[in-house]
Each structure stands twice: as structure tokens, then as C-alpha cells.
């Protein structure tokens, strides 16, 4: 086999393998089958180790063969539009796949002891393997359709894991908030996909350089920028991120420290040829990134709890990434993305150590702490400094505004739609029978 054949085989196998893991656990979930804990754990470990191996093989093959654009089967064709499975293996894809191959097994290893005897652990394992499938798909996607598939899967798993502790009211509400922002911004990606099918010769990423010359490509670029905002928690779509800290530490690490939040920059990297010629889009990207970085930097410096402080720190670096992307420094952005993902994963996983760390640190004392961090605020007059502190403590009231201006209207629209739908569907005679479930709904009592 030639190197290119290897690339082809390995790329498709990676996607298929990632899907197989998620599908088998998903089948168990759908059937309400409670598998033995050790079986699920061994399956997850195997799944993640195979992803590492396949990713390493793919990287090696890619080095020998160079960039590859792999056209797969056409799923549907109608009225001149075709939905085809296409994968791309290039430097960006291999780099991001490498990050997945490092972080995903680490999180699996971390979760084996920590989810031991946790009610609903099987649901976690299903969602995390599904997440891995979504990531691999997004990373290797060769056209917007495949990309959108993975992108949606990532969003859904993210929302479901925020609500992992489903008896906790706050978890449920916060996951709904994340869902609203995700769906709103997904309209951007979806709109871009529709328009690409309509106005561009192809939805393939390989043609983006040529597509950039099409008059409406600016609109598509703007839609893609909008689409990337929620995943990367950029202003004004950022108020869900600190609320997403409801889930277990390992899912916070892999989603909001490492992989899911960095998909925003990855979407922009992937579609760079399309938006780079559009100065307006780049200007908006830079401004959004810069203001998010400032906002998150100030708000984060007032957070007294480990996980939301890390959420804001992550958001600030993502803002910087957006600025780097807008300036066209894409190699720097990729390095920054990698390094940042590693740092935050480590910090999220270790976030329970802080009491121990500070207890053992001989430099922790009142005077050392007073000399910490925010020096620039000294230059502000007292009244302004206090006001800025209070504003930052309340997230500049964006949280409430997000709810009033985005959350409630979106939910209202959907409520209205369901009202409209009401007369169209036959009335339900009896409440649906409870679905089979492999989790005891009763209170925890081993």
C-alpha cells in the first residue's frame, strides 16, 4: 500500500472506531442495559488506547503522504446538491487529533477510579465516548456537512454532562442555558452550510480558497464566526461557561479546559481561507476576542472558587486566541491552543488539591497574599476601583442580560412553536410509559 492508502484507511478507521465505541455503549443505554462496571471501564480504556494508536499511525502516514482529501460515499443527492462524507487530513487536523489522542485517554484513566460506584457512571462513559467520536469527526471533517455532524454531537454531550447530576436543580438549569447558547450559534454554522450548498460549487473545505472570491462569501464567513462564538464562550455568548462547572471534574477538564472550548478556534482555523480575505470579519473577530479577553481577565480575578476561576481564565486565553487568529498568526494560534489545553486540563484535574497546596506552602500568609495579582487596579481612584470590582463580581451583569435578551426569548420562541404544533399532533391518551433505565432513580443507598 502507498502512504496515501494508509492515510485513507487510517482516517476512515479512526472515525469508524470512535463511532463504534459510542454506538455500543449507546445501544446499552437505549436498551436500559446495566453493564458491569469493569466491562464498561475496560471498554472505555480500550476505546481510548485505540484512538491514540490510530492517531499516531495517521500522523506517521500523513508525514509520508502529505495532505490528503478523502472523498467517501455520497449519502444523498437531490436537486443538484449532494451530501457526501469527506475527510481532510492536513497539518491542522493532525495537530488537533494529536491533542485529542493525548487528552482523551488521560481523562479516561482519571475517570476509572473517580467514577467507581458513581450512580450513572455508565451514562458518563457513553457520553464521553460519544464526545470523542464528535471530536474526531470535527477534526477530520473535509466538508461542512461532516463538520456539522461532529459539532452537534459535541454540543449535545456537553449539555448532557453539565446536567450529569440530574437531581440537582442548578445543574439542570445551567445545562439548559448552555443548550440555548449552543443552539443559537449552531444556527450560524447551519446557515453557513446551507448557503455553501446553495451558492458555492461545493461544501468541501478544499475549495474554500476559490470560494472566497464569491460575492456572498463574506456572509458565510460572518456566519461561521458567529457559529464559533458559543463553543468558545466569546462575548456576547459567554455567560454559560461559568455555569457549566456543574459536572464532574473530569468532564469539566476535557470539555471546558481542553477540547470542546477549543473547537471554536479550530472551526476558524479550518475555514481560514474563506474569511482571511474579509477584513470586516477579521476586525470583528479581533474585537470580540480582545473584549472577551479583557472581560474574562477582570471577572476571573475576582472569582474565589477553583473551577469558575479556571473557566474565566480559559475564556480569557480563548479571547487571545481569537485575536491571534484575526491577525493571521495561525501557527502561533495552534501552538497556543495546544499548550493552553494542556495547562488547563492539568489545572482542572488538580483543582481539588488547592487546599492542600496552600496549606503546605510556606509563603502563604496575609502579606504575601495582599501583594498578589492585580496591581493595575491600584492606579484607579478608590471609588472607581470598588465599582469595577463589584461589576466584575457580578460579571458586569451580563449573566442577567444573557438570560433576559437571549435565554428567555429563545425559550419563548420554542414554547410558541410547541403551542403551534399542539393542534397538529393527536392528543396523547396516556402518559408515555417510563423508559427502561439502567439507573436507579431512588435515592442513593448502596
Amino acid at each position: 500500500m502507498t502512504a496515501l492508502d494508509w492515510v485513507t484507511v487510517l482516517a476512515w478507521t479512526t472515525v469508524a472506531w470512535a463511532a463504534a465505541g459510542a454506538l455500543s455503549l449507546g445501544a446499552a443505554q437505549a436498551l436500559g442495559l446495566a453493564l458491569p462496571e469493569s466491562v464498561v471501564e475496560k471498554g472505555a480504556v480500550l476505546h481510548s488506547l485505540a484512538v491514540v494508536t490510530l492517531a499516531a499511525g495517521l500522523a506517521a502516514a500523513w508525514r509520508a503522504a502529505g495532505d490528503a482529501h478523502l472523498a467517501g460515499p455520497t449519502l444523498a443527492a437531490a436537486h443538484g446538491a449532494a451530501w457526501q462524507l469527506v475527510l481532510t487530513v492536513d497539518g491542522k487536523a493532525v495537530a488537533f487529533l494529536g491533542l485529542i489522542a493525548l487528552v482523551y485517554p488521560a481523562i479516561v484513566r482519571f475517570s476509572v477510579p473517580s467514577f467507581h460506584r458513581e450512580p450513572g457512571a455508565q451514562r458518563f462513559w457513553f457520553l464521553v465516548s460519544l464526545f470523542a467520536f464528535g471530536l474526531v469527526t470535527v477534526t477530520l471533517a473535509g466538508n461542512i456537512d461532516v463538520f456539522l455532524l461532529g459539532w452537534e454531537v459535541v454540543g449535545v454531550t456537553s449539555v448532557m454532562l453539565i446536567a450529569y447530576f440530574r437531581r440537582n436543580l442548578r445543574s439542570a438549569k445551567n445545562s439548559l442555558r448552555a443548550l440555548v447558547f449552543y443552539r443559537l450559534c449552531d444556527l450560524g454554522v447551519l446557515g453557513a452550510a446551507v448557503w455553501m450548498h446553495h451558492a458555492f460549487p461545493s461544501s468541501d473545505f478544499a475549495h474554500l480558497v476559490d470560494d472566497a472570491a464569491i460575492p456572498t462569501s463574506g456572509l458565510v464567513a460572518a456566519a461561521l464566526l458567529f457559529g464559533s462564538l458559543a463553543k468558545a464562550a466569546q462575548l456576547p455568548m459567554s455567560s454559560w461557561l461559568h455555569r457549566a462547572m456543574e459536572g464532574p471534574a473530569s468532564s469539566s477538564a476535557i470539555f471546558y479546559g481542553a477540547l470542546s472550548v477549543h473547537l471554536g478556534p479550530y472551526l476558524l482555523l479550518r475555514t481560514a481561507p474563506l474569511w482571511l480575505p474579509h477584513e470586516g470579519v477579521r476586525l470583528a473577530m479581533g474585537l470580540i476576542g480582545a473584549s472577551t479577553a479583557l472581560y474574562a481577565g477582570v471577572v476571573g480575578s475576582t472569582r474565589p472558587d477553583a473551577k469558575t476561576a479556571l473557566a474565566y481564565a480559559t475564556m480569557a486565553q480563548l479571547g487571545v486566541l481569537f485575536v491571534e487568529l484575526a491577525l493571521g498568526w495561525h501557527t502561533l494560534a495552534m501552538v497556543h491552543l495546544w499548550a493552553h489545553a494542556g495547562l488547563r486540563t492539568w489545572q482542572f484535574l488538580r483543582s481539588s488539591s488547592l487546599i492542600q497546596d496552600f496549606q503546605e506552602n510556606p509563603m502563604v500568609s496575609a502579606d504575601v497574599l495582599r501583594r498578589r495579582g492585580v496591581d493595575w487596579s491600584r492606579w484607579l481612584p478608590t471609588r472607581a476601583r470598588e465599582w469595577l470590582y463589584l461589576a466584575a463580581q457580578r460579571q458586569f451583569w451580563l449573566d442577567g442580560m444573557g438570560e433576559r435578551l437571549v435565554g428567555r426569548p429563545v425559550l419563548a420562541v420554542f414554547s410558541w412553536l410547541s403551542l403551534l404544533e399542539g393542534p397538529l399532533t393527536p392528543p396523547r391518551e396516556a402518559p408515555p410509559a417510563p423508559r427502561a433505565s439502567n439507573e436507579a432513580e431512588a435515592e442513593w443507598s448502596p
Binding site: 442548578r170 474565589p304 472558587d305 492542600q356 502563604v364 500568609s365 496575609a366 442580560m401
Partner: protein, 820 residues
């Protein structure tokens, strides 16, 4: 309401606040310490209403235990016969209202049971209080940290532009009304509509809607020194004003949907109380039959000379270790693990002194550790390196979370963080070992000693008395072996906010090594020995006291201060270390039976490695099982329980009544141990029966806040108690305390101590005694009469089958099966 009446109100509320230290200074406490003046079941009912939690296990739990045979049907029958005459077991189980004679408690405010109300309250208040109490997590110092929490709250609400505040409008409007008022007047104004007689209960209910934060404020007000760095001026009165204003504002706007105003935990208390009594009784029946079956008639045992004796902590985790040592012909005695050295200990390079005595004892002295002669320069280097490293660590902590320095740090250090991420997860203990080896190579640790007898320390006289009291209480006044190991214990765990909960309870959660070192140093001192000999306690010159440290999670036991022993002692030390290694091996085997994720192998090395990794694993929520399953405390000679397998369920305190005719040693053996045992038992009890209401819930979503405690997820009340993973094997019961002493001595002891009187009279523990002469086991009844235990528990079968473990001690019969 006048100023003084607001104060009176707060004073009335203060005792009901949960006792919750910052996790840095965690100690096991009876969370209901201030209700011990009430009978146990009454206090539980009270607490169920206050904490809105379940004070017993669920009925389903007791029924399962009955079906499994852990709860004996005969015990339930006996309880029903005494408490509900005329009701048979079948009638009781068949009729869910039988015995339901305890009316449920009603709450006063409609919002009190509404989770949506709690969520909104937390949204408004938690950001303010967590930032105000913050000890250094946020990079930006809170401008109000030196002012009151009321002020911090008012500013945070009123300075926001009105049009921006969504949802907080009602709170803001209400706060504006109080502007310019003193806190007392705010409280008075808020309580105007509440009937005078209900005010205390009303305010308590409001405070308990954020019980963790309220408890922390009350605790820091009482003891500001508990704050890890510096406490803000905490005041329960200011905090009450904040909560009253917000609760009343939200009460007015939240349409509550809670249809029922009874506290959920207080339903069916009558039934649960009986089931619980039967559950405890079944345990007592099984344990006492097991003990009795192994009691030998008191006969003067031949004095046998041994090579090694060991003094260990009474801790239930040392019970298995003691058995393992005894299997190698080591004589062991149990004492309260601070070994009488009631000190604060300031180790070299430490920032502050740690408290090395039980929470019920106030430390009398501060003892410093200094470098041995000629080691000063080595120490200076080590301390300087430590400070540089610590400053760098703090720098990375703050800067990696800031904006521009964060860019620089993530670009420079970010890629390197994959190294610890991968290595620490794959080889948890090896990474720590390499790091420590490297550190020791670069900055060798100096030899140190403790300065015991300088100004403010222990005089030689005091040292001799301290040593004498410990040795005599344990029954040692002759027959010293050449090696006398003094073993302190502690526990290694990683990424664990509850680390202090795994330490030595008798040393307030700190490792007991300094106490072992201090005790050994005292007992080896020739001046001390001369005084002891003068008082008739002759320690042979040949005998050396050797301080040791047992890590209960890693199961490693090492010798400390070996350079203080002369070279001629080296062969004996080698023998001691071999003994320890074998004992640790046996202990690992026993403990691994309950670690469901331990490798399924009988290879000792693999199991030892697994145990070692547990303590160093970032991901491991159960480095060890702590005091899980502990249920009894036996104060008496070790002969009573020698060769008896107790499955790490008993605190064992050595006390020899035959060498204590005047009863002078009994208080020393009991007062330091039994209250600590009850504290630990109750702490585990409450976290186990309701992990959400009394405990910290699952460890997975916990989030360290303000460096004081943990919250769940992004925002919540400060969590109380222990996490669910820490108590999952526990069987929630009151402590069964057995004292080997005459009835008169026991009665004198109990009546002479106020807390013990309360604990015994109000049924916070069950008391029994073992007669020093006849070795009969007697239990104290509610009528304060000691009866032979088979009379007190008539359902006990004649004799348990010999050679078979009772189910309460059999790992194969665990509720949470290993296969689960």
C-alpha cells in the same frame, strides 16, 4: 426591637449553628455537639427539622438489612416488645403506619423547602460571601474584607445600575429601604411582621437555608484564628441581616410550589427510630457474642520476655496493624495517639505550628523542631529552596489565571504540563518517589531534633510524669523489651480537600509523627528515667524507645530519628524494620479485600503497589476507607481481645485495671479517647445517613472555594461533613463503649465528667463494662443498671458457632459487595 434584643436573638441562635471548621483545620466533631443535652432521638428530630435532612437511614435500607440477615428479626422483635407492646414484627412491617407516633415538624416559611428559592438565594448571596471570606483564591483582594459582610452586601446590590439588574430588583428595592440603618435596626425592621414567639425559629430557618456558610461565619466569629490566612470581621448578626433581607425579598416574589410544609426528614421518625434501634442492637448481639466467645478466664499469664513492644494509636485502622504485629510476637498497646504530648508543633520550614492533640484538649505548649548540631547550613539551604519553590508555585497559580501573564505562562509552561499529566496518571507513586529523591539529592534534609525542655516547653519533671502516665495507663510498669516502638500515624492522599479527615484524630487530623518523636525523646532521656525509677517505674538501660510512623493509606511504616540511636542498636533496628514490612504486607492483604478496584491477584507486590498508588493518585476519591464501619470502643487489657479478629471496627485503648487499684489511671485512658471516638462515630453517622443533607454529597462535582471549604458545582451552599465516597462502607450506629473496670470506678468516672454524663444519660453512646475479675460483659440499661449482656439482649442465641466469623465482621457479607 432594641439593640440588645438583636444581640439576644443572635446569642440564642448561635448554639444551633453547625460546627464546621475550615477544611484546613478539619476535626471530627459531633455535628450536634450543642444538642447533647437532649436524648439522642430527640436531638435527631430537632436536627432533621433544622438541617432539612434525614436523621436515620431510609426504611428501604433497614428492610434490606433485615432481609439480608444483618438486622436480626429477633432484635426487631425485642425492640418492638419494649417500645411498642402488642405490635408483632409482621404487623410492623406490613403496616407502614405502625409505630408512626412522631408528628412531622412543620417549617415556618413557605420557601424553606423550595429548591428554586434556594437557588435564587444562592445566586444573590453566595458570590458576596464567598468573595468576602476568600483567603486568597482570587487574585484581586476584596475591597470589603476589613469591613462587615452587611456592608459588602449592600454595596454589591446598590451600586449596580438599576436597569442592569435582572431578577435582583426585589432585593435591591428592599435593601434601599434599609440604607443608613444600623444592622440591629435592619433585623428589627425585617422581623416586625413575625410574631415575637416565632422569631428565633424563624431566624434559624433563614440561617439554615445556607447552613454551611452560616456555620462558617459563626465559627470564624468564635475563633478567627481558624482562618487559614486572616479572617474578615465575621459576625453572625451581620450575616443574619443579609439573609433576612434577601429571603424576605425573594419570599415576596417567588411563587413557591411546595405544597407541603412538613420537613421531609421528620416524617415517619417513630418507625425509623425503632428500626434503627434494632439495627444497632443486632450489631451489639453479634459483637458481644463474638467477644465473649474469645474471652479466656483471667489467669496470671506467664511473664514472657519479648524482643519488641509497640505503642500505637487507639485508632480502628491500627487494629489490623496491631494484629499483624502480634502475629510476629510483638506486644502492642493502644493509647490516644498524641501520647500525652499536648503541644503545638512548629516543624522546620513550616509556616505555622500544627495542633498535635485531640480537639477536646487545649494545647499547652508550642514545641519547635531545630536542626541537629552542625546541620544548620543544610537546613538554611533547604528552607531557602522551599521558599523559592513555594513563591514560584504561588506565582504560577495567580499568573496562569491572569490575562497577559497567562498568555506568557501558557505558551512557556503549557506544553510541559502534558508531562505531569501523563506521568502522574500512569505512575502515581513512582512520580512522587522520583521527585522526592531528586529533591533530597539536591537539598538533603538535615537531621533535626525537637526542643522539648527549653523555656515554655516540658520540664524534666513534667516529661517524666507524662511518660509515666502513658506507660502506667497502658499497664506498663515492668517487663520492658529492648525495643519499644512508639508509632504515630497519618495518611497520604492526593488531590483531596478532605485530607485532614484521614489523619490522626487524636492529633486533630495531623500526622502523629511529632508526638511519637517527642515521646520517645522523653522516654530515652536519662534524667527522665532516673525520676521514673525513683517513682518505681524502672526502665532497663538496654530498652530504647524508637519513634516510628505508620502511613495508614500507603501501609508503610518507617523508623524516625534513627541517628539518635547508637550504632550498636542497628541490628535490632533492622529486625524491627523487617517486622514492620511483614506487618504492612499482611495489612495490605486485609485492606485490599474491600478495595473493589484492586487487581484480582494474590501477588503481594502487586497489591502493595496498588495501595501505594491509591495514596498518590490524583483521580482516587478513596485513598483509604478511613474510619468506615467503626462501631465500638474497648478500653481494657489487650488480653481481652488478643487473637480476636475485629475487622477494624473497634477503637482499642489499653488500660489495666489490675494495676490501677485506686482508679487513678482510668480517667486518663477514657477521657481522651471515648469523646474522640464518639465524635468520629457521629461525624460518620450523619454524613452516611444523609449524604446530601448532613454530608458533602459526591466528591466528583466538589469545587474548592475561598480556601475554606467546598461547594457543589458552580455555586452552592458550603458543604458540611464528609463526602459520600468517604463513608460508603460505613454502618451508621452509635458507639458501643466497653470499659474494663469495676462498676464503682465506671460510675465515678461518668459522674465526674459533664460531657460523658451527657453522652451516657442521653444515649449518644451505649455503655457496657467488662468485669476485671469475672470477665463478665455487662450492659447499662436505660434505667442506669448494669446487667449481664445476655439479660439486656435476651434475643442473643446461646453461643455462636465456633470458628465462624459473625456476619458483621465478614467481608464476604458486606452490604456493598466487592463485586458491585
Amino acid at each position: 426591637m432594641t439593640r440588645s434584643s438583636a444581640d439576644a436573638l443572635v446569642e440564642a441562635l448561635r448554639p444551633s449553628m453547625p460546627i464546621q471548621n475550615p477544611l484546613w483545620a478539619f476535626v471530627h466533631n459531633n455535628i450536634l455537639l450543642n444538642l447533647e443535652h437532649l436524648p439522642f432521638h430527640e436531638a435527631l428530630k430537632q436536627a432533621a427539622a433544622w438541617y432539612r435532612a434525614r436523621p436515620y437511614e431510609t426504611e428501604a435500607f433497614y428492610r434490606e438489612e433485615l432481609a439480608r440477615g444483618r438486622l436480626h428479626r429477633a432484635s426487631l422483635e425485642a425492640v418492638l416488645r419494649e417500645r411498642l407492646p402488642g405490635v408483632t414484627v409482621d404487623a410492623f412491617l406490613g403496616d407502614p403506619t405502625a409505630g408512626d407516633d412522631e408528628p412531622a415538624v412543620r417549617v415556618l416559611r413557605p420557601g424553606a423547602l423550595d429548591p428554586e428559592f434556594d437557588r435564587q438565594l444562592q445566586d444573590v448571596v453566595v458570590p458576596v460571601v464567598s468573595a468576602w471570606l476568600d483567603q486568597g483564591m482570587a487574585a484581586w483582594d476584596n475591597p470589603w474584607r476589613d469591613r462587615s459582610v452587611w456592608l459588602a452586601f449592600v454595596e454589591s446590590v446598590t451600586r449596580a445600575p438599576a436597569w442592569l439588574v435582572a431578577g435582583g430588583d426585589a432585593v435591591r428595592a428592599r435593601v434601599v429601604r434599609h440604607l443608613g440603618r444600623a444592622v440591629d435596626d435592619v433585623i428589627a425592621a425585617e422581623l416586625e411582621a413575625v410574631p415575637e414567639a416565632q422569631r428565633v425559629d424563624w431566624c434559624r430557618e433563614v440561617l439554615f437555608s445556607l447552613k454551611g456558610w452560616s456555620g462558617m461565619v459563626a465559627r470564624l466569629e468564635a475563633e478567627p484564628a481558624l482562618a487559614p490566612v486572616a479572617s474578615p470581621p465575621a459576625s453572625l448578626k451581620d450575616w443574619l441581616a443579609v439573609l433576612l433581607v434577601v429571603s424576605h425579598a425573594l419570599d415576596a416574589t417567588t411563587a413557591t410550589c411546595a405544597p407541603d410544609d412538613t420537613a421531609p426528614g421528620t416524617r415517619h421518625l417513630g418507625r425509623l427510630r425503632r428500626l434503627h434501634d434494632a439495627y444497632e442492637r443486632s450489631f451489639a448481639v453479634d459483637l458481644l457474642a463474638h467477644l465473649e466467645g474469645h474471652l479466656k478466664p483471667a489467669a496470671p499469664t506467664a511473664e514472657r520476655r519479648r524482643e519488641v513492644q509497640a505503642l500505637l494509636c487507639m485508632d480502628d485502622r491500627e487494629e489490623s496493624f496491631r494484629r499483624a504485629l502480634e502475629a510476629q510476637d510483638v506486644e502492642t498497646v493502644g493509647s490516644v495517639g498524641f501520647y500525652g504530648v499536648d503541644m503545638r508543633f512548629h516543624g522546620v520550614g513550616q509556616r505555622r505550628a500544627t495542633r498535635q492533640c485531640p480537639p477536646v484538649v487545649e494545647p499547652s505548649r508550642t514545641i519547635r523542631e531545630v536542626p541537629a548540631d552542625g546541620e544548620g547550613r543544610k537546613l538554611d539551604r533547604l528552607v531557602r529552596a522551599g521558599q523559592t519553590g513555594a513563591a514560584a508555585e504561588l506565582g504560577v497559580f495567580y499568573h496562569s489565571r491572569s490575562l497577559l501573564r497567562g498568555v506568557a505562562l501558557s505558551l512557556s509552561l503549557g506544553l510541559f504540563s502534558f508531562l505531569p499529566l501523563v506521568f502522574k496518571l500512569l505512575w502515581p507513586s513512582a512520580v512522587t518517589r522520583w521527585r522526592e529523591r531528586l529533591q533530597r539529592w539536591a537539598f538533603p534534609r538535615p537531621r533535626t531534633r525537637m526542643v522539648l525542655d527549653e523555656e515554655g516547653g516540658y520540664s524534666v519533671d513534667e516529661q517524666s510524669r507524662l511518660v509515666e502516665s502513658i506507660l502506667r495507663a497502658a499497664g506498663f510498669d515492668r517487663g520492658f523489651a529492648p525495643v519499644f516502638a512508639v508509632i504515630g500515624h497519618g495518611s497520604t492522599s492526593t488531590n483531596n480537600p478532605f485530607r485532614q479527615a484521614y489523619g490522626c484524630g487524636a492529633c486533630s487530623g495531623n500526622p502523629g509523627a511529632p508526638n511519637a518523636r517527642a515521646f520517645a525523646q522523653m522516654a530515652n532521656d536519662a534524667r527522665v528515667r532516673a525520676r521514673l525509677a525513683y517513682r518505681g517505674l524502672v526502665i532497663p538501660d538496654e530498652t530504647r524507645f524508637v519513634p516510628c510512623f505508620h502511613d495508614t493509606s500507603l501501609d508503610v511504616c518507617e523508623v524516625l530519628d534513627r541517628e539518635q540511636l547508637d550504632d550498636a542498636f542497628a541490628p535490632r533496628l533492622a529486625g524491627l524494620e523487617a517486622t514492620f514490612a511483614e506487618a504492612c504486607r499482611l495489612d495490605v492483604l486485609e485492606r485490599c479485600a474491600r478495595f473493589a478496584q484492586a487487581p484480582a491477584t494474590s501477588d503481594d507486590d502487586a497489591l502493595a503497589q496498588h495501595v501505594l498508588d491509591r495514596g498518590h493518585d490524583l483521580a482516587q476519591p478513596r485513598p483509604e476507607y478511613g474510619h468506615n464501619r467503626v462501631a465500638a470502643c474497648i478500653v481494657g487489657r489487650r488480653e481481652l481481645t488478643a487473637d480476636v479478629f475485629l475487622d477494624r471496627r473497634c477503637f482499642l485503648v489499653s488500660y489495666d485495671p489490675t494495676r490501677d487499684d485506686d482508679g487513678r489511671q482510668l480517667p486518663g485512658a477514657v477521657l481522651g479517647s471515648v469523646p474522640v471516638a464518639v465524635n468520629i462515630g457521629m461525624d460518620y453517622y450523619f454524613s452516611r445517613v444523609d449524604p446530601d443533607g448532613f454530608g458533602a454529597g459526591s466528591k466528583l462535582p466538589l469545587n474548592v472555594t475561598s480556601l475554606l471549604g467546598v461547594i457543589t458545582g458552580s455555586k452552592s451552599d458550603l458543604r458540611l461533613g464528609l463526602a459520600r465516597q468517604m463513608v460508603e462502607l460505613h454502618e451508621p450506629m452509635r458507639m458501643l463503649v466497653l470499659l474494663e473496670a469495676s462498676e464503682a470506678a465506671v460510675r465515678d468516672l461518668i459522674s465526674g465528667n459533664a460531657r460523658l454524663t451527657r453522652l451516657v444519660d442521653n444515649g449518644w453512646m451505649r455503655l457496657g463494662r467488662i468485669d476485671p475479675v469475672t470477665r463478665a460483659i455487662l450492659l447499662r440499661g436505660d434505667d442506669d443498671v448494669f446487667r449481664p449482656w445476655r439479660d439486656a439482649l435476651p434475643e442473643a442465641s446461646a453461643t455462636p458457632p465456633p470458628g465462624k466469623l459473625p456476619r458483621i465482621l465478614d467481608v464476604a457479607f458486606d452490604r456493598l459487595g466487592v463485586a458491585a
